[in-house]
């Protein structure tokens, strides 16, 4: 098993290397000149050239690449082209906010979605099932930013319960949670809708299997069948989806972060792309790729716990 984990980490590093290399050249050939973004309308040919030299952008691409990679091996992600701050510091400053949001969003999604999906499946075609279906269909149809504004209208403008913008102080858990509530709920409600629908389908499929008929023929009651025979098996499918959502969510968190003016990786990378800040974009991409790799590894490891048929040797 540990060999498998090592192999997966090596594979992940290789994937990061490929993505980073493609990005490194792609962004320099495709996106605008950072010197224009920095100096704006006051730029002259001379000042831009001077800045390029200062930032090392005048060197041939391959040389820039080697310098960057050599730095990376030492754990140096370079400095921002915009403000000269170390990229790593910038990323680490916002990563906790993004992880907070992703984890809370998915947690709400699983905690509400799995039981709702079970109830909908067991009470199939009853009023309750129809109500759940309409709610989840609305949930998956509403774009995240609409959900965000909707919650702002209720909880901030209407009830005045929560702060509307910002992320709170990192070292103050209570303030962090207060600021996290609405964005987390926006994401969580959307996740709940997706997970409910998936859980319902999964449970219905499992309930139609031969081994469920066997369980009934053994005299087991509905509760035992659901808890012992259906739940664990349904987790195989649900974990796959949650892993997939985790990677998608972290990539698209910019929408929620923007609505709530929250610091986060999404806003960091969008801002960096807009300003052609190559270094920040590269650093953030490394973080993304590592995150995706780690989530996939966790999902695969979870499979081996849930499903004895799956073994990695």
């Amino acid at each position: 098993m540990s060999r498998v984990i090592v192999a997966r980490i090596v594979f992940m590093l290789a994937a990061i290397f490929v993505v980073l290399t493609a990005l490194f050249f792609g962004i320099r050939l495709g996106v605008g000149d950072p010197t224009i973004a920095i100096q704006g309308t006051y730029a002259t040919a001379e000042s831009m050239q001077a800045l390029r030299e200062a930032l090392g952008l005048d060197k041939p691409l391959w040389e820039q690449y080697l310098i960057y990679m050599a730095g990376l091996l030492r754990g140096d992600l370079g400095v921002s082209l915009q403000n000269g701050q170390p990229v790593l510091t910038q990323i680490l400053a916002v990563v906790p906010y993004t992880l907070d949001l992703t984890v809370v969003g998915l947690l709400i999604g699983v905690v509400l979605g799995v039981p709702l999906g079970f109830v909908a499946a067991v009470r199939r075609n009853t009023k309750l099932d129809h109500v759940i279906r309409v709610m989840t269909l609305s949930g998956v149809s509403v774009p995240p930013f609409i959900m965000g504004y909707f919650l702002i209208i209720i909880f901030v403008i209407g009830l005045g319960l929560f702060p509307v913008a910002g992320g709170g102080e990192l070292d103050e858990p209570l303030s962090r949670m207060r600021y996290l509530f609405l964005p987390g709920l926006s994401l969580g409600l959307i996740m709940t809708s997706y997970i409910t629908r998936l859980a319902r389908t999964t449970v219905l499929e499992i309930l139609s299997k031969d081994f469920i008929r066997t369980a009934k023929a053994k005299g087991l009651d509905q509760r035992t069948i659901l808890v012992h025979h259906v739940l664990r098996l349904s987790l195989v499918t649900i974990v796959t989806l949650v892993g997939l959502y985790a990677t998608i969510t972290i990539g698209s968190s910019v929408v929620i972060e923007t609505v709530f003016s929250r610091p986060g990786v999404g806003r960091l990378i969008v801002g960096a792309v807009a300003q052609s800040d190559y270094m920040v974009v590269q650093g953030t991409i490394i973080f993304y790729a590592a995150f995706v790799g780690i989530v996939n590894l966790l999902v695969d490891l979870t499979y081996t716990i849930i499903d004895p048929r799956i073994r990695y040797e």
Partner: protein, 340 residues
């Protein structure tokens, strides 16, 4: 062999189970009456779709509703009508007093639970055994169905076993609470021929040892001949003939039974050796009628060479033609004299 004149343990009377489908109402079981006696093996035979499995599932009240529903009749187990019981009372009978094994051993076991936990579940529920007591009993049951190395196998998963082994596990599971009745729904159909023989032998030996009254559902007359004491032949949701195995094979009364028996291939040493002209295998002409739109009279009449005007007009009733031999055919006595 068990005493076949023993008292009935299960009496099915005029059972009717209907399904609502888009094509219309399907009377999958339409007035089935049969009796299972203590210690006997009752073979229920018929083509696919004749209602044998639905009869079996109806007895345990496991018909999925919707679309199915038991609309009439009685199922008396030791005198109690199972159709009057609450769902909770019914659960204490399933897997305990009456248990069932299914056709598909590959899919009938839970894929991610160990054999042991699937076996102990029933034992702890119905027998109130402790976890360790149930585990010991599970190992003992696996030994009974002759699974090698039961102590090791008990902690394995179904995917680590072959189809034959899984069916042995199903049998062990079904017999673990010493049921009064075992319903076996085509237990060997999905298995290789050699494995079929092993499983049938095992079932026969266990039946003789434990004396469990067994309802063996099959489409295979050969299986019936080897295993059953009595036979009920089903056609289009009804029993058309019921007799002891010897009687049925020696003197089948219903034309459908005759057709079934004539369609069994036989290896006759003389004809194979001599290369003589081989007799063409007899088939029953025509197809099983759609249950949505059954003929008014006898459902078999359109395929029957002996059908009379009366057969097409009036449904025959199941009547004794000899002691312990019943058939539902207007022409039965006529046919019996012809045969004699």
């Amino acid at each position: 062999m068990s005493d076949i004149s023993a008292a009935p343990i299960l009496e099915v009377e005029n059972l009717r189970t209907h399904f609502t489908t888009r094509a219309g109402l399907v009377p999958a079981v339409d007035g089935v009456s049969c009796t299972l006696r203590r210690g006997e093996v009752l073979g229920v035979v018929g083509e696919s779709g004749c209602g044998k499995s639905v009869t079996a599932l109806s007895i345990l009240r496991l018909i999925p509703d919707p679309p199915g529903r038991i609309v009439g009749g009685e199922i008396r187990f030791r005198g109690t009508n199972l159709l009057d019981l609450t769902e909770e009372q019914m659960r204490s009978i399933r897997g305990n007093e009456i248990s069932m094994i299914f056709q598909e051993p590959m899919t009938s076991l839970h894929p991610i639970m160990t054999i042991g936990s699937q076996l102990t579940e029933t034992l702890m529920l119905h027998r109130g055994l402790s976890a360790s007591g149930a585990w010991d009993r599970a190992v003992e049951m696996l030994r009974l169905v002759r699974i090698p190395e039961p102590e090791r196998r008990v902690s394995e998963y179904p995917h680590q076993m072959s189809g034959g082994m899984r069916q042995r596990v199903m049998i062990a599971m079904a017999l673990s609470c010493d049921p009064k009745i075992l319903i076996a729904d085509e237990p060997t159909t999905a298995l290789d021929v050699t494995i079929q023989a092993q499983i049938l032998t095992l079932m026969r030996e266990l039946q003789e040892k434990l004396g469990t009254a067994t309802m063996l559902i099959t489409h295979d007359m050969g299986v019936v001949a080897e295993t059953a004491h009595r036979v009920a032949v089903m056609y289009a949701g009804k029993i058309v003939e019921e007799a002891s195995v010897q009687d049925l094979f020696a003197a089948p009364c219903h034309p459908y039974t005759r057709g079934l028996l004539a369609s069994i291939p036989r290896l006759e040493a003389s004809s194979v050796a001599a290369g003589a002209e081989r007799a063409r295998l007899k088939e029953i002409p025509g197809l099983v009628p759609s249950l949505v739109n059954l003929p008014r009279g006898c459902a078999f009449a359109p395929r029957c060479t002996y059908a009379s005007e009366r057969c097409r007009r009036e449904q025959p009733v199941l009547e004794a033609i000899r002691p312990d031999h019943r058939t539902a055919c207007w022409e039965a006595s006529q046919l019996a004299t012809e045969a004699a």
